[in-house]
Subunit: 136 residues, 6 copies
């Protein structure tokens, strides 16, 4: 079993805000991330698949194919977008935290990868914060 | 003459949009950067000052002092903000491009640095695009 | 289960030296790391916690809270310090290797994290050497 | 159990090409990687060993010793080489993909590491593609 | 005057070899870089243009346009290529060193950039070697 | 004229301390950098030389030769050392700041480089602080 990772990037706006809470409680819990006019990040997404290298090609999966699937299923839907407003697979009222984005990205992607199995997603929000998800 | 650089970071939302233009022209010129619901970046700012190292301290300028001035004059005003809407020193209708932000940052900062002279500002918008400004 | 990581940095001096050994044996085993007047590093620490994202906030844990605990329990005690001489949780005679620092950091931190569980610590000593520890 | 990683680099040429296939099929499957005159990469190899830190030295394994073994068994045989033509442990006709290189590197290295156990190899082919292998 | 930089990447094979010299002299001067079966690198190219930001768009030049020109004039001609054999603008017998590549890239690019002026090219051959050229 | 840069690294301990000042004044001016038991850094040094590429080799200067000179004149004298105590070219009482180290490194290196001219030295003390020196 070999694990193959492709890294993709996207730039997006978001804010963290619970509609049921007061302004004060939102600011207390989310701090600067609750700024009403949004803020944003350069996100970096690691997509890791696993499988046995093909005896002829030596590929677990063609990294260019992996890149294409990730682009269609995720990047095209979040790049230069507002994660709270513009993303069709974001449930209403769900916070676009790094953690939640990973779970949503997994649902988008897992069944679309052919010839290998999705193993892990890693999402960097900044250079000092990232999260990882293995599908459960 | 020695040049000393301090790197600071901030995360912000913005969009590129000329109010006098049609939606079509904005999209043609600015592409995905014209998304009406904003997008955002992790910005990285290099602040370079120049001077002669002090004979006793060996400092061109105390990097912690430099960091504080940059924080008060720039970072606190742009971090987790919307560059189009939330920044008091952004002239109305000015595009928050990397190039324009540098010119505005220079005006904010140049007269506030003591004991050394502001030499250059470098602003990374993404890992592959950055701009530099020397004050004129 | 989602894994959330926060990266923190500190700068410290140390040396590797076994008091019971001769100068020659110390130099043979530790090489340049045994320099009697110390040397130092810019350390980078990844702190990984695991948990289920909160349904309202979307957080496994507030990354700012995580950062504060790490700062109080670890960074404030090692940053700009001498790992052999200045660290109150360093047992006398223990070598401040990357491996041992991880085990000590784990003891400092594991019981202080609330709302999530410490999963892994990763410590980079240089750009080419790092160690990882899962608590056992 | 602590995991210790040493990162090494090498620069090499390669191409992906199945001799039994037509030129067209090779280009269709491997794209630009099938260029007949080769292309190349700056590879980055993470070698991770695991063990218990020695009570006196605090080392899972001396990182300098680890570096030397990796240099003799792998780096000296691939650095500034052609992975298809110059590598004595590359079976004839095997594709020098990131995935296959890892499996070959593991065979080269696993039995040569003393005092700790090889746990994982990670190979970056570019800044956006890497693979990992745990020996089975 | 603001300086705008776009970073592009390409992967290529090359070798350093003077046809008029003996094998021994080539190996003495170029060392491992003279390996007859080639080696290769992940190159990183910084393209810096200068100009006054446009009053409406805030652009010195559209970074996407800059990227396109660099792609057509340089990247498409060197990516996944052999710099000695495959590059139409490489004079016969010229060494594909980082220094020489920069001079050739400048000739390719300088007259093709519209609306701003090419100021500097920087080429990283590895993470520890790079060269810069200002056109003269 | 082409500029060629080679990056080298070293790890060292230091502290900032003016012997003529009180403990209080040292702590006020230098903060944590005045810790009596030292602290340390992973330094990264960029050495930039300039010249015309040789018509046959394509080299401004052989980067391996440049590396060797930098190693003998600088790295071997500061790596795994205490910058205040162990460096023979450090004048007594001089502060080992990034700025001062650059001036001392220039004196060490400038006359020893053959076939090209030393143009600039850049020294990173951390990932967020660096200084540059052009020899005057």
């Amino acid at each position: 079993m070999v694990y193959l990772t492709r890294i993709e990037r996207f730039n997006a706006a978001h804010k963290l805000w619970v509609a049921d809470w007061s302004v004060e409680k939102n600011q207390e819990v989310f701090g600067k991330c609750a700024n009403k006019n949004w803020h944003g990040h350069n996100y970096k997404l690691h997509v890791t698949v696993k499988g046995k290298p093909d005896p002829q090609t030596g590929f677990v999966m063609d990294a260019k194919e992996l890149s294409k699937v990730v682009k269609v299923e995720i990047i095209d839907k979040v790049d230069h977008m507002n994660l709270n407003l513009d993303v069709d697979f974001m449930p209403k009222g769900m916070q676009p935290t790094t953690e939640n984005m990973l779970i949503l990205f997994w649902k988008q992607l897992a069944s679309k990868i052919e010839g290998a199995e999705l193993h892990k997603l890693t999402l960097f929000e900044t250079e000092t914060i990232y999260a990882e998800y293995f599908g459960e």
